[in-house]
Structure formats: structure tokens, C-alpha cells
Amino acid sequence: MEAKEQKRHQRKQSGPKAERKKSRKQRAPGAEPDEDERRRNPRAFAVQSAVRMAKTFHRAQDLKTKKHHIPLVDRTPLEPPPVVVVVVGPPRVGKSTIIRCLIKNFTRQKLGDICGPVTIVSGKKRRLTFIECGNDINTMIDLAKVADLVLMLIDASFGFEMETFEFLNILQVHGFPRIMGVLTHLDSFKNNKTLRKTKKRLKHRFWTEVYQGAKLFYLSGMVHGEYQAQEVKNLGRFISVMKFRPLVWQTSHPYVVADRMEDLTDPETLRVDPKCDRTVSLYGYLRGTYLKNKGQVHIPGVGDFAVADVSFLPDPCPLPEEQKKRALNQKERLLYAPMAGVGGVVYDKDAVYIDLVSSHVDQPQAEMRPTAELVQSLIGTHATLDAKLAASKVSLFSGAAAMTPGEAENLGEQQAPLENRVWDPVTQRERRKAVFSDDEEEGDGDESYEGDEEGQSEQGEQLSEEEEEEHEYSGEEEEEECSDEEGLQGGDEEEKSSGARESKVGEARRGQDEEEKAPRVKRQRLERVEAKPPVEMPAFADSEDDLEMSGDDGEQSEEDEREGAEGGTADSGHCSEEEVDDDDEDEAEDDNEEKQDGKEEEDDEEDDDYDDDEDSDMETEVTAPVNISKPVKAKVSVLSEEAEEDDGDAGELGNESTGALRWKEGLAQKASEAFLRQQQAAPNLRKLVYGSVIEEQNSPSDEDADEIGGLFRVSRPEKSRSRRVDAMDCSRFVPDSPHDWDQEEVLNSIRDCFVTGKWEESKDAATLLKEDEELYGDFEDLETGEVHHGKPAKEEDSAEESGEEEEEVMVKEDAEEEQKKKRLEKKRRLKERFDSEYDDGDATYFDDLKEEMQKQAELNRAEFENIDDEARVQYEGFRPGMYIRMEIPGLPCEFVNNFDPHYPIILGGLGASEGNVGYLQMRLKKHRWHQRILKTRDPLILSLGWRRFQSIPLYHIEDHNGRHRLLKYTPQHMHCGATIWGPITPQGTGFLAVQSVSGTQAGFRIAATGVILDLDKSVTIVKKLKLIGYPYKIFKNTAFIKGMFNTMLEVAKFEGASVRTVSGIRGQIKKALRTPSGAYRATFEDRILMSDIVLLRSWCPVSVPQLYNPVTSLLQPVGQKDSWSGMRTLGQLKRDLGLRNKPNQDSLYKPVVRTKRHFNPLHIPKQLQKALPFKSKPKQDQKKGKTPRHLQRPAVIREPHERKVAALLTALSTVHNYKTKKAKAEQHAKHKEFLKQKEREEMEKLKRQKEARKKMYRIMGQKEKKRERSSLKGSSKDD
């Protein structure tokens, strides 16, 4: 049934109404009518009520200020990391399909299995990382913490599922990232109307959960197993223009969503003990905030780990460089997903992994992939001859690699387990690692073999070989750069890795070969490095380092000599980069050789020399404060002295003698010398404070080197060090060589530090005055008409010009320029002053604050902008947006063995003291959708900060006096406090609790949500304890109570405590009694009874169980990752073990048997009775029993006459009664008859009417029939 269409409203075209409207419309624009109205009707606009006006104003202001947020310093990085797009939804809703479609939309590539995060370049300024979230609640929790945007897929044909709401709740707790709903399976609706209705219903439900107007996207149907291209495109557009909100937790913690994992464990130890702890390197974009090296990270699902090393790698998926172009070209549409086996070339610190596409037979469109292009571009790089030479050696070497294919395989597996899993072996896709070391070469050999097997053309093979060379070279470069710039890891890392590789191969001969080759290459590099201009060199490109270079020149010869003698070792204080490198290389070599051949003494000597030197260096530097106190030292600031010590290593004696001489020389000379020294000193200040980074790295080897031949130790005077180490801890900085403040020159040296001294040009009072003159000098006195002129500003200038007429035109022009500049400057200053005067009135506190923040943000950006990354990383940590590699030792072997790329690996950085455990007090509320209330001491799994862990909460509520009283259960619909033993997390952090993370249970899984309130090392929860005692002797208001305590001491502790009897009489404990131990004397406000029980209400503290059990879901075997179960609740335990609680018999409820109460009669004293009013007097009358004989009334005996009269009367009345009865019955019968009669009449009447009606209808019917017949006849005639 369709509703009748309403008639549309017809607008009046003419008539008075239309005209009125027309005129109003014409008047509308412009302010005149308002004015007019104001004039016409001033009352309507007058202030009616001051109070109301104030209220309106107040409200307006309130609304205005409500819009303000506390301004925060903008800390977003210039090149932000890819946006994390998490795709969530119940299974079979189309998550993978939508990711695939979006990837295809952005990059024109097809990705088969979505495995781990997929990073793509989506636009000129944006990259996206897609992560698919499985249905496991662990995954949901983890991904909710890192998501920037959530695509929430909803199966429209089914409606919302519990998972969707659970996920929404998780998001709410951990900050609320942007959410976009996507309705899928819309094609299953046959009826258009139901489709529309469903859409609307789902939309409104979604809005109530998220916010009114939240974006909900509809994907209508599938074409060839994909969503419609246009719709996906639109979705992509939405994603790529979306703005994201900064979330508190995310912006205050660094985190990495790992997109690559490599196991670095030594294969030998692996072979010996397959279950040994693993060293793993994880890769990913750094997000959130700055990450400091060597911090602590939490990997949700695994645990807390200390990071051994962090380094940054070149961006594998960089943003396009030129920003001018309108759209991205195909080359720039990169895709990076190493876990899914895509990514082309992946760089590591000491290796380059290349996915060679040419060997890929199955994929015809492989040429189109950007990865291939990347490889091609790498081929295109120009290689130097020596590099090629080096590489060619490697390829020569690869011929022998086939000897241990098993080993190589083993290695490959261990290095890249994901790829093995992801790619079908049928596709024959290998992963080649091109590294400048033996194991890589082995891999190369293998691969070339395989290439042969595949029967590729020679050319192709050659190409691939060439490629390899190229990559090896580039890899080498990479490595070089790393070691060059880092300095920190450089030498040590190389050493380690080369050592490790050696052991991997396990073949002595090969190892030797390698030994012979590797250093040569390194030397080549060294030369090259040294040839570079010094400007490029400094790793820590402070301005001082350049100075250092120049400062060093003077001493170059001396240093050269030393270098010559020591064979390239240099002192730490001065080591410029070349030298550092040099040292490293040498060291590395040495160490390698040592490992190879055992301990060789010649080498050791060299080492020793070097180390000694370094050590002594360190010491001199370190002992500086002690040495300074020698009076021989020249008069300079300590700064310079340190420097002196730094450069003057060994020749301290000589220095001293010269110092003694200098002491007596003229002050000016001294000053100049000091200046010189300071110049030398300046660059070393950083090293002086932080030490040379290499020094630290080498320190363990130093100690090794102390031993000569493994027998004797070099004994050095320990005194200086120990003195320093145990010196007095004092912050005062007493000048060791004070200036002679009696001399005028010395006094003059600080003259300008005082207000009485000379000021800077810009701040000098004279200049300021002059400026004022310039600004305000010219004015016209309007009263008198007199015109005052300020001094011509450029008087001096002009004078100068006139004086120097012989100067050229150029100079004049310059002067003009200068004038112009000055004019501009003047204008600017004027404007500034004006602004400051006139804007200040308007500027609110909020504006000021905002401006301050803005300034700070600019400063933050600018401060370290020009420093190169290696140094910058040391100052501010790793920037968000960098692609970093984190090396984490000590990971459990299950992490690697049970690795499943479908589960996200998140490295969440921990702030200061967030790695510790303590008591947390939180505010908690049972989730209203969770079906049962929660019980104290039942283990609960909490998601807090980065962590998921099981803990035992105690619920409590705060009483009015601030006492935290223990609760047995959480309240139904109310907040309560909870205290757990868990990881220290900043206050204000939200958390959620679930009872179990394994499998799927019925109902809503999120049990509770809340927020951290307080961290404390001690708990203050108490529970009530009632102590019971019995009186054994009662005086007036005093009673002796026993049975409450056991000793006098206990009583003494409770003296003065208040007690109460069951009947409510209050009292106080007074003093312990001697005889029954534990008894005491108490006074009450009234006399108590012997039958009373005395109660003492007290509070005893409850200790929180110290259970902190991280959920290690990532360590579960593949396929069972969602089956982690921790500690069971008591109820579960009992159920599982089939135990039933045996209750205390006394606690059982029994039918209450009440004895009949017997009340004694109330006895009222006679005196009282007398005094009482009659009403209240006890009535003495007894119950009526048998009337005693004397009270019985005598029977009446009638006379005969009287008897007759009575009999007659009785008879008469009987007759009368009978008569009336009869009459009544008669009347009744008559009435009945009458009613019957009446009914009958009625019936008849009805009957008649019916008859008549019938008759009428019949006639009517006949008439109708007749008419019908006649009409039929008519029609039949027509036919």
C-alpha cells in the first residue's frame, strides 16, 4: 500500500501576502532595516534586565573559551612516518580484499597474501601502512594502541558483531584514533528499501558509538572478487586527505611497528642449543616521539627487553623528492612489505638483501614493479674500478661456494624465515643477500647455480651477476658510511660481525682467505676516505670541529711523527675522523688475526702501544681537575687547561717547565697564549665531556690488552684514578689559578660585564636615545604652528661622506644601501612599537601562550636542523619518521620459532622508570555490557600502556574519611578503586581489563575499563575486623571484659579504643587487667548486661598479591596464538578440578526455631498505683467465669395469668409472621410472572421487527437482482 502523495505547497505569487514577503526580502541585505527597527522600536532593543544580559554575556564567553584547548608545542616531525591504517572486522567481512584493493588503487600492484604491515606511498606527502587485524583480542588490543586510522569493516548483511563494539571500546580506552566505518556485503540485499533501512540503522548505531556524523563508507558490490574501482578510489581519497589527532600516549612514547625481522643469533650456538635465547633485529618506521638509544622497549605479547643497539637505515619507501609535479609517477608509487615478501632491496647495517625479480618466472608483469626499478637504478650507479675489482674477487670466490649448500640453506632459513613461509617453493623465488663477506658469497654461488638450473639465458645471468656486484659495492658503501659516520658502532660492529661470520663458516682456510681479502678492501676505502676534503669528515659536525681541523694544523707535524711511530694509532683527545677510522680498521684487523691465529705477540705489542696510549690519554683527561692544582700551570681558565692536557699527552714534564717560565712573562703574551690554547681546546670540549665514543667501545679490548702474553699484567700507577674515583664529592668550582685581581688589566677584562661598562651597539643608551630622537624628533606644535625638527639622522654619515669624498662611487652606493636599510629598520621598529602598544590590549593569555608554543616549536625544528643525522641522533635521539633497526638480545627462542607475520610486532618504548613494577591505584568500572560483576582477588588481564598482563586486583571504595575499604565485588554500575601490582605507568593512562584472552567466549569480553590515578610503593587498603569480648564482671558503668585479647601488651596497644556492645552501648577500653591475661577494664555509657557481647571495630591492612604476569601470546605456537591462558580464578580452578566448597556448618542457614516468649506480669508498686489516674490504674476486675452462686440472679416464675398472656402473644406474633411471609412469597411470584411477561413481549417485538427487516431486504434483493438482470440483459445485447 503506497501512501498518497501530498499536494505540494504552492507559493503565493500575488496578493498582499506575497507582496509583504517580497518587500521583506528586498530589505534583508544591509544593516539599514536593523537600524530602522532599532529606531522604530527602541524598547525591544533596550536592556531589559542587567542580570540576564550578564548571563548571556557569560554564556557567550563560556562557549568561546570552551573551544580553546591547552596549546601544545607542535612536535610533529617534518617528514612524518607512514600513517598506520588498521583494518578491523570480524572474519569473512572483506578485510584482505579491501587492503588489496586499496594497494592496487595506490600502487597499481597486486598483492596476494596480506602478511604483516604493507607500506605504500599514497601521495606526495603521505605514506600509508596497512595492517590487517585478526579476530584475536590480543591483536585488537595491540593494534588499537598504534593505529592512526581505523577502517572498521562491517558486514551489512549481518549487522554489527560483538568484535566491532569490543574494538571500539578498546579504542576509547587507549586514546581515540580516527575511525572510518566501511559497510560491505551490501550486494546481498535484494530489496532496495531494506538496503536503505539497514544503512540508516547501522549508520545511526555507528554514530552513537563514535560521534554524530562519523564517516561511514558503503562498498556496494564486488566485481571479479574486488570492490568497485570507483568506490575504492573514493575511499582512498578520503584516507589520503584525512587529518589525524595526536593521542597522548602515542605522542609521548616512541614506538615501532616492526615490518621486518631477522634472527642474528650465532648459528653455532643455535646448533649447540636450539633453544638458546635469540638476538633479533627488528625493523620499522619510528613513530611517536624521539627514541633514545639503549633504552628499554616492551614488545606486547613477549615482554620487556633492553635494546642493544639502534641504528637508522635509508628509507625503503621514501616520499618522492620533487614536489612540483601534480601526481606521482609509477616509479614513485612504492610498495614495501618485507613480511609479505615484497620490498625489492632491503638494507641492513652490514648487508643488502635483494629480491631478484629477473629469476622470477611466474610473474609476467614483474618488470613493472618498482622493486625492479629500484634494482635497475642500482645497476645504473657508477662503480669505481677498485670496487669492481673487489667485487670481482668475490664472484671468483663464489665458484667454491657450492661446497656447502646445506649450510647455506640453513643460513638462509635462519636469516629470513618469513620469506620461506610466505612464498611457495614452487615459484622458485629466492632471496639473495649480497654482502661483502663469506656467507653471502656462498649464497651467491648457490643462486647462480639455481639460475643455471632454471635455464636462464646467459645474458640474464650476467646481468644478475653484475647486479650483484653492484649491490655488493653499494652495500659496502653503505657499510662504510655507517661505520664512518657512526663511529659509535663502527669498529666494534665490524669486528663483531666479521667474527661472527667467521665462526659461521667454520672453515679455517676460507676464513684465512677472507682475512687476506677483507682488510685489503678496507684499506682501499681508507685511502679514499682520507683523500676527501676534511670538511666532509667530521662526524659530529659541530662548528668547533672545523676549528679543530685548523687548530690541529700547528701540531700536525708532531702528530704525524707519532702516527708514524705507532702505525696509525692516534690519541683519543685529538682523533679526527680519519684517525678514528684508521684505528678501528687496525683494531678490527688485529682482533681478527688474534682470533685466527691465537695470540701473536707482535700484534699484541702494537695493540698494547695503542691501548696504553689511549689509556694514558684517558687518564690525563680524567685526572685533569687534580692536576690543575699544581701551581706551575699557566693562568688560564680550566677549559684551556684541559685542552693543554689533551694535546700535551706525554710531554707533561716539558710543559710544566715551560709553564713555569711563562708564569713570569707579560700578561698580554699570556693572554694571547691562553687564547691560542683555548682555540685548540674548544673542539675538544665535547670529547672532554662525553669522551671519545670509540674509547668506550674499545674499553673491553683494552683490558684484554693489559695482559702480556696471558701471564703478566701491566701495572700502572692506579693512584690518580683511584684518587679521582674516591675524591671528595663537591660541586664547588674553586679557581685553581685565580687571576690577579690587583692588576688593572685583569680588572679591565671584565669591565663590560657590569652596567657601568660599555654596552653593545644596539643596546647602548646613546644609540637608544638617538633612535628615539629619530622616531619622535619631528613634530609640529599644532598650537603655535612651530615645526620642530629632530637632529638629521644621518648627520654623522653625511659628515663622514663629505670627509671621504675621495671614495669611489661604489662606496656611495653602499652608503645609500645602508641608508635604505636603516630606514627600513626604523620603519620596522616603529611598526613593532605600534604593534606592541595596540595589540597588547587584545592579546589574551591564550594568545600569548600560543605564540610562546609556536616559538618553541620553531626553535625545536631549527636547532638541530643543520647537523647531519649521525650526530643529530645522538643529541635528540632517533626522530620519528626514520626507518630504524633495533637489535634486541635475549629474546626467547619461541619468538623466532613461532613467528607468524600475521600478528603485529610492536616495539613500544618505555619512559623513565616505566620499566619498574610497583603498586598502581586506579579507578575502575565494570563494563556495563559485561554480564557479571568482578570479584576481588580474581586474576584479570589488563591492557595498560603498551602492556598486556595478568594481575590480581583488589577492589576498594573510598569512605568519607579517606579510608580505602576493601570490597568483595565491584559495584554494579559504579566506579570503584582498584589496586594492582603492575608496571609503573604515568597517571591518567587508561586501561581495560578482560578476563581471558583465549578463544572466543559468549558475551562481551571487556570486563572493565578505567584510569590510573596514583603510583605508590605501599598500599592503604583496609578491611574491617571485629574483635569480640565478653564481660565477666560488671560494676555500675564499668565492666571487666575478657576474651578479646591474649596479652596485656595487646591491650596496651588498644588503650583508649572505643568499643560497643551488641545492644548499642558505647564504651572505651581503659586498662589491662592482670589476672586473666588479655582482659581489660572498660567503661560504658550505661551499665551493660552479662549477656552483652562487646565488639571492637578495627581496620586491618590488606596486602595486594604481587602477581605481574605478562601475556606472552606471541610466543604461542603458530595457529594457537589466541590460546594463551594464565592464572585461573578460584572458581575456574574448582570447576576444573571438580571441587566443591565445604562450607562451615555454622555458616549455613537453618530454619529459625524461636522459643515461645514468656513475659512476666507487670508489677506496679502500690504507691505508684495510688498515684496513677484511674485510666492508667491496673484494673482489678477478673474475667467473667461462672457466676458464683451468691451472684446468680434468681429465676422468674410467672403467674398463670401472666403465662396465658405470654402464650397468646406468642401465638399472635407467630400468626402474624406467617402471614407476612406468605404475602411476601406471593408478591415475589407475581413479580416473576410480570418479568416473564415482559420478556416475552420484548421477544415478540424483536421477532416482528426481524421479520419486517427480512421482508424489506428480500424486496430490496429482488429489486437488485432485477436491476442486475436487466443490466446484464442490456450488456448481453451489446455483445
Binding site: 608545542v73 616521539t289 633514545k292 638509544n293 639503549k294 628499554q296 681558565s637 680550566v638 677549559l639 683555548q678 681546546a681 674548544a682 670540549l685 665535547r686 665531556v689 662525553y690 679521582r724 674515583v725 674516591d726 671528595m728 664529592d729 663537591c730 660541586s731 664547588r732 668550582f733 679557581p735 685565580p738 687571576h739 685581581w741 680588572l747 677584562s749 671584565i750 669591565r751 663590560d752 660585564c753 657590569f754 652596567v755 657601568t756 661598562g757 618553541q856 626553535l859 625545536n860 636547532e863 643529541y875 635521539g877 619512559g911 623513565a912 620499566g915 619498574n916 613494577v917 608496571p983 609503573i984 604515568p986 597517571q987 590510573i1012 590515578l1013 603510583l1015 610503593k1017 605481574y1108 605478562p1110
Partner: protein
């Protein structure tokens, strides 16, 4: 869960280590404390310091071995509140107070500490100096308001002590970044010449001699004489001078000198003391910077514990104590400072070279403070 920690050797920089450990939550182990000394192990004043740390924290675990040469310190949470501490007279209250200044803004409850002991001695920065330099410094980091106060109730000189100091400090959740790059010019010099249990005339003699030197630079000098009597004068006699120079930009440079303790060393002439102290102040002015040498580490610590913003600070030459402090900051917070030397031109008469320290704050937030 294994929390991180650090191991050190020797008793030097003892306070730095404990303070930074407490702030960063990392445990610290100090080995070989005076292991080769005649009296090995921790000394009384260090033990007293540990006790003070225990008082202001909650849940701290301290383990000391039999000889006292090894200390293990696992920090708890900073608690604050009312604290009374009897400081060992081997070191002055300044020794303890320096650590309290570093920790006080990060407590759970505002600190109100009463410290008893030696107020002025020759080793440590005196309470007078800290009062006039550290407190304004803290204010520039946003730690200000009602509660910030350092009050000298009684004076006590070594060896007897008997002084009393009240230090109160409000609690902050975060510390503001600072840009202190321009020290300005010194506009006035103030000071306190104190004398206890000696002739009150001595203070005046000190003032005169100090003025005679400082008057060459600036006329705005006022040195208060502070003579305490009776119960407020502590147990031992002594006198001294604390000078402070205030610049136009509100920076403070200080110098101080105290007389030799009774029975140690030769008695000092008040005139000499005044002269020397004035010269020390000039020396401090020569070094320059926005913060004087005793407060360098305090300022650097606050910079480190600031929000994740860039802070800048101009200092004079770094003292050895500060240098070690920087190393410790790197150990505990992984924060390195950018150190740039600012050269002075030859003709500019503004003292020695300055050092510009720049760092990015650690984004530290006070986790002890209760959320209501």
C-alpha cells in the same frame, strides 16, 4: 621484570648517582667505595645522605655490604611531605640541600624539609648562596609560587653545627624549557656578612674590605651584616661572607668564603676574607654565564628533565663536577648536550669564554604526583 641499572666505582659523585637513579628509576650499584683507603667504606655524611634519600622516598631498597664499600640502591617513588633530618656535621647542609633541590619538584607531595647541621663551611656551597642563586634559577624553570622558600632559622658553623634550615618546594608535573642565552649586565651586588659567636664588629670589617674592591666596578653594592646570637648562633664560632651579583636579565652569580673552623688552621683576618671573597666574585664574573658554577648541574638537570623541547643555557667554563654530571645524565637519561664554545672577541672586556649548552628535554613527567 628486570629493570635496568648502572654500576659505578668509587665514592666520588655519590650524590649525582643517587639523585639521577631516583629520578630515572634505574638502580645503581657503587663498588669499591674507598676500598683502598685507611677508613674504607661509606663515611658518616654519606650514610646520612642515604638516610635522607630514604626519608623522602617510598619503597627504596638500599643494600650496603659489611665493610660499606659496596652500595646497591634501588630507588622508590619520591614521596616528599614533612621531613626532618639531622645532617652530619662533616659536610654542611648545602651538601644535602643540593640533592633536595634537584629532587624536590618531582615529589608526590610538596616537600617541607627541616635540615639541621652546619649551614656554612668551606667545602660546600652554603645555604646563603643557594638561597640567592638556586631559588631564582628554579623560578626560571617554572618552579615557583607560594611554596618555594629557603629559610635560615639558625646558623651553625663547623665543627659543632647546630644550624637549622627550612626548605619548602611545590610540586610540578613538568618542567618548562628555558632559553637563557643572554646573561645581561650586572646591575647590583648584594651579600651577607655573617658572624656567630664572635664580635659583631667582624661582619662590618668584612663588608668594608669587600666593598673596597667591588666599588671599582659598580656603586650599587649592599652587604647585609647578619650577626646571630644565643640559640640561633649554633655551637661553634665563625664568620664569613656570601656575595651575589645580579644582572639586568635576572641572572645571579655568587661567591662565598667562610672562616676556618675553630681549631683547624690558622685564624683568618676578616679583612682578608672580605677581599678574597670579592675577588672570588670577580673570578665568577670573569667566568660568566647565566648560571654560576655551583648551580651548573642543577640547571642542566632541569633542562634534561624538561618537556621534549630544546633548551639553551649559556655557562661559564664547565666545572669538573658538571662534566661528570653530564656524563651521568647521558648514562641515566641517554641525553647528550650540544656544547658550543662562544669565543669572546679580544677587545670585548667581558671575561672568559662561554659555553652554550643545548639539549632536547627527555620529556620527563613527574609520575609520583597524584591524579585527582
Amino acid at each position: 621484570m628486570a629493570s635496568q641499572g648502572l654500576t659505578y666505582e668509587g665514592c666520588n659523585f655519590f650524590r649525582q648517582r643517587l639523585v639521577l637513579s631516583t629520578l630515572s628509576g634505574k638502580w645503581v650499584k657503587i663498588k669499591n667505595i674507598r676500598s683502598k683507603d685507611d677508613s674504607p667504606g661509606l663515611q658518616d655524611f654519606e650514610a646520612s645522605f642515604i638516610r635522607l634519600m630514604d626519608k623522602i622516598t617510598n619503597g627504596t631498597r638500599i643494600e650496603i655490604n659489611q665493610t660499606g664499600t659496596v652500595l646497591y640502591y634501588q630507588p622508590g617513588l619520591l614521596f616528599g611531605g614533612q621531613v626532618e633530618h639531622e645532617c652530619n656535621p662533616q659536610r654542611s647542609i648545602g651538601y644535602y640541600l643540593e640533592a633536595l633541590l634537584m629532587l624536590a619538584p618531582f615529589m608526590k607531595k610538596p616537600l617541607r624539609a627541616v635540615l639541621r647541621g652546619v649551614t656554612n663551611d668551606q667545602k660546600d656551597p652554603s645555604v646563603d648562596t643557594l638561597k640567592v642563586t638556586s631559588i631564582p634559577l628554579m623560578k626560571s624553570f617554572g618552579i615557583d609560587g607560594e611554596g618555594l622558600e629557603l629559610k635560615i632559622m639558625k646558623r651553625g658553623m663547623p665543627p659543632g653545627g647546630g644550624g637549622e634550615v627550612l626548605f619548602t618546594c611545590p610540586v610540578r608535573r613538568t618542567i618548562r624549557p628555558v632559553q637563557l642565552t643572554d646573561p645581561g649586565k650586572i646591575k647590583r651586588i648584594r651579600g651577607t656578612a655573617y658572624s656567630v659567636r664572635v664580635s659583631p664588629q667582624i661582619a662590618n670589617r668584612i663588608v668594608d674590605s669587600a666593598r673596597s674592591i667591588l666599588n671599582k666596578f659598580i656603586p650599587d653594592i649592599y652587604i647585609y651584616t647578619d650577626h646571630m646570637k644565643g640559640g640561633n648562633a649554633g655551637k661553634s664560632p665563625g664568620f664569613g661572607l656570601a656575595l651575589v651579583a645580579e644582572s639586568t636579565n635576572g641572572m645571579f652569580l655568587s661567591a662565598e668564603l667562610a672562616s676556618n673552623p675553630q681549631g683547624q688552621g690558622s685564624p683568618m683576618l676578616p679583612e682578608d676574607l672580605g677581599c678574597n671573597c670579592a675577588k672570588l666574585l670577580l673570578e665568577e664574573v670573569y667566568r660568566g654565564g647565566c648560571v654560576d658554577s655551583t648551580n651548573q648541574s642543577l640547571a642542566l638537570l632541569y633542562m634534561t628533565l624538561g618537556q621534549q623541547d630544546v633548551s639553551k643555557l649559556l655557562l661559564g667554563p664547565l666545572s669538573p663536577y658538571t662534566r661528570e654530571f653530564l656524563r651521568h645524565i647521558r648514562d641515566f637519561f641517554q641525553i647528550m648536550f650540544k656544547i658550543e664554545v662562544q669565543k669572546q672577541e679580544d677587545e670585548s672586556r667581558r671575561g672568559g669564554d662561554k659555553v652554550l649548552m643545548t639539549c632536547m628535554g627527555a620529556g620527563y613527567a613527574n609520575i609520583s604526583k597524584t591524579l585527582k
